[in-house]
């Protein structure tokens, strides 16, 4: 058995559309011919709490959970959550981070502080971090709720999956009445990253 399994950890805040994003990611990987597993927590933690989703793919995936220090890509939807889960990243791993802060309750009520200069801290740990202006681009696409699709579009540039498969998956999984702005949001996210010829 070859150990060709790759690990993507999604991290953010309940309500950001992380579960839909990881759903689309897992489906497109299946379509691309990989064995895929994903794991996440529903229920209590979703009420505005910290949310993660583990996506693993390769020729034969065993554990649905990514080991600490083993994520090839940390895909962060919020800056504090991206920073919090940096220890999950392997040495030399990639970070995609949404440039958005959502204050957790202890910070919102003034009993704790949001880490200062958090982008610099993330960049210090991972100099090649891809920061994405998710909310700005989502608003450009016509709906602030499409942040997850913008981010997925950005992430797609790091995965060697044909654009047609992404299109097919999004068309199948996103409700018809929201399809257009979601496709547009995905494209805006994809365009926001420097493209290499083979991924276009």
């Amino acid at each position: 058995m070859t150990n060709d399994v790759r690990n993507i950890l999604l991290a953010g805040v309940g309500g950001q559309g992380i579960l839909l994003a990881s759903e689309l990611l897992a489906e497109v990987l299946l379509l691309a011919g990989y064995d895929v597993k994903k794991s996440e927590i529903h229920g209590m933690s979703q009420r505005g709490g910290s949310v993660t989703s583990h996506v693993r793919y390769g020729s034969n995936v065993l554990s649905p959970l990514i080991k600490q220090g083993d994520a090839d890509i940390l895909f962060g939807f919020e800056l504090l959550e991206t920073y919090r889960y940096l220890p999950m990243l392997r040495r030399g791993g990639d970070v995609f981070a949404n440039n958005q802060s959502i204050l957790p309750a202890p910070v919102a009520i003034g009993t704790a502080e949001y880490p200062h200069e958090i982008q610099n801290k993330i960049r210090h740990a991972c100099p090649d971090t891809h920061f994405v202006d998710g909310l700005t681009l989502a608003c450009q696409s016509g709906h602030p709720r499409t942040v997850n699709m913008v981010l997925l579009g950005a992430l797609s540039t790091a995965l060697n999956i044909p654009h047609t498969l992404w299109n097919e998956t999004i068309t199948e999984k996103v409700p018809q009445q929201l399809l257009q702005e979601n496709q547009f949001a995905f494209q805006l996210g994809r365009n926001s990253q420097a493209m290499t010829p083979e991924t276009i």
């Binding site: 489906e27 994903k38 794991s39 529903h42 933690s45 990243l89 791993g93 957790p104 704790a112």
Partner: protein, 586 residues
């Protein structure tokens, strides 16, 4: 059929459909809820929410008596509620196959304990399957119905959070073609469990376990994966995936049925190994039985007994290694605990209880989050329905001058689950407590499932909603008050008055869950803070509303309302003494 990516819960539903299940019943509970939510999409199945797990199992048993296959699902703690019928059903056996799928929650992601359901299989003397991924969840569920009928026994299927809420590839199969006819059959020696009949059934139960054990030695769901060397592992369920990954060279005996254990298969496997590990999550359930066979194994002296088994925890236990991460934080980061939603109808009640200095006995639901700061207004939480009965006992115990402070709180779904009995006890035995029913018209915490008070069934068909006010009155509560928890003045006035009353009273705080589209209020415009008028008194921050933040980085910090999150409930506006909060009309 094309392979598909499915959650374990969707796969259990698929397996049940393939097995020709006709009746399914459940009470929602994380991580089991989505099994029935998936099953309702198969039109041949009559799937419904029961008010609690005991009722759900009894509905399933009735369907089995009628000759059809029945699936009953619940979370681990739900089995405690359903245990009474389960143990006697073990003596009765089945007509149509009956499977009880329960989902454990190691690590307590969304639970109050992490009990190991495998103990129930041994305790009730029924076989139990444990899948290791979604495909096994489908296949084992389907197989479990055959085993149920072949051995005349209910069968348990144990999932957990990682199986139920994880997704992996499934190969769906065609459903079974033919099933026996349903109809009334009288068989009192089997189906009427009074002492004379039950005494005859018990030896059959013991023989059944012996038969199953021998049979399970020959079945492909208990399989040996031959490795190299002399290290062996016996494992099952999700732990198999972690063990296979951590010890790629080891021989592995992967158990699909975790009770009864295939003794001869285990003895033969153990004879091939010099070092034998038992790798299992939570209790040493397999380990203790193997030790009782006289086999030396390494188990819980290395593998943690508490919490979820994760790949890094297993590797740390086996090899003493620490994960090699690129980054290790030295600073402590602010936590992000879950919170009631902006516009949650529970918030005003908990703020009031805090202001009145109430001692609050609560239980299980979104309202358990009333425990968290800044509301910090829940003092006890044990199990579904305990909010009222804990108040009854507490009032009996404490001195007279403290009794009026005790308030039992409970959601509508929890009240209909087991709270009614608690209220009956309080009425019957002259209890003097104050009970607040938080009626948000839905079973909210598990993802907004319908319940007998919501007016709809799982299938979305209208049904007569239970009238909680009329129910409390007819049970014998003299003082039943209705309040709107969005009206803080009324809420405080009524709760204060009822706490002071030296008699039992029930206050029903009725307001639909903000996320519930069917019963929910029309969207209201968001509010905003007029900064010039904000005196920075922070009274609004006591609500702990996620839409309200304290702009502490400003030179003169003020409250701020996020218009994206604000639901326009106006609780903060009512609290503000400086009229600094108004409707955002931009």
């Amino acid at each position: 059929m094309a392979k598909r990516l499915m959650s374990g819960n969707a796969a259990i539903a698929r397996g049940a459909y393939e097995a020709g299940v006709k009746v399914a019943s459940a009470y929602p509970g994380t991580p089991s809820t989505e099994i029935l939510e998936n099953l309702i999409n198969y039109l041949a199945v009559d799937a419904s929410w029961a008010p609690n797990e005991k009722v759900a199992l009894e509905v399933g048993i009735g369907a089995s008596f009628g000759g059809v296959r029945a699936l009953v699902t619940m979370k681990h703690v739900g089995v405690n509620v359903a245990a009474d019928p389960l143990f006697t059903l073990s003596y009765i056996g089945v007509r149509g196959g009956l499977v009880l799928a329960c989902a454990d929650d190691p690590e307590m992601h969304s639970s109050q304990n992490e009990q190991d359901s495998r103990n129930y299989a041994k305790f009730a003397k029924v076989p139990m399957f444990e899948p290791a991924d979604s495909e096994e969840a489908r296949a084992f569920t389907r197989l479990a119905f055959d085993v149920s009928e072949q051995f005349d026994t209910p069968v348990m299927l144990r999932s957990n959070t990682r199986i139920s809420h994880g997704k992996s590839i499934v190969n769906p199969q065609e459903p079974v073609a033919e099933l026996p006819q349903a109809g009334l059959v009288r068989d009192p020696a089997k189906m009427v469990m009074l002492p004379a009949n039950a005494r005859n059934r018990h030896p059959l139960v013991e023989q059944r376990i012996v038969d199953l054990e021998a049979w399970a030695c020959e079945q492909p769901f208990n399989r040996v994966e031959t490795g190299s060397g002399k290290v062996g592992v016996i494992t099952a369920g999700i732990a198999y995936q972690y063990a296979r990954q951590a010890l790629p060279q080891a021989h592995i005996l992967k158990l699909g049925m975790v009770y009864p254990l295939p003794k001869q298969l285990i003895l033969d496997f153990a004879a091939r190994c010099d070092t034998l590990y038992v790798i299992e999550e939570l209790d040493p359930f397999i380990e203790e039985q193997i030790r009782a066979m006289g086999i030396r194994v390494i188990g819980k002296e290395l593998i943690p007994i508490c919490g979820e088994l994760t790949p890094e925890r297993l590797e740390t236990a086996l090899f003493g290694t620490k994960p090699d991460a690129a980054v290790i934080h030295s600073e402590s980061l602010p936590g992000r605990p879950p919170n009631m939603c902006a516009g949650c109808s529970h918030r005003g009640v908990f703020l009031t209880l805090k202001r009145l200095g109430a001692y609050v006995t609560g239980d299980i639901g979104c309202y358990t989050l009333g425990f968290l700061p800044p509301l910090s207004a829940m003092d006890t939480c044990v199990c579904m329905g305990a909010g009222i009965s804990n108040a009854t006992g507490l009032i009996k115990a404490v001195p007279e001058q403290e009794r009026h402070k005790v308030v039992g709180v409970m959601g509508d779904s929890t009240f209909l689950h087991t709270g009614i009995n608690s209220l009956i006890d309080m009425i019957y035995n002259g209890g003097r407590g104050t009970v607040i029913l938080l009626d948000n018209r839905i079973t909210a915490m598990t993802g907004r499932q319908e319940n007998p008070g919501s007016g709809y069934t799982l299938a979305g068909i209208e049904s007569p909603p239970i009238d909680l006010q009329a129910l409390c009155r007819v049970l014998g509560v003299k003082h039943v008050q209705m309040i709107d928890p969005y009206d803080l003045t009324q809420t405080e006035q009524v709760v204060q008055q009822e706490m002071a009353r030296p008699e039992l009273s029930v206050v029903i705080a009725k307001r639909p869950c903000i996320l519930d589209r069917r019963h929910g209020p029309e969207p209201a415009p968001p509010l905003k803070v007029i900064e010039e008028q904000c005196s920075a008194c922070k009274i609004c921050m006591k609500l702990g509303c996620p839409a309200l933040t304290w702009q502490q980085e400003h030179n003169t910090p003020k409250a701020h309302i996020d218009p994206q999150l604000c639901s326009g409930c106006k609780l903060c506006q009512q609290l503000c003494k400086f009229t600094a909060i108004e409707v955002h009309n931009d």
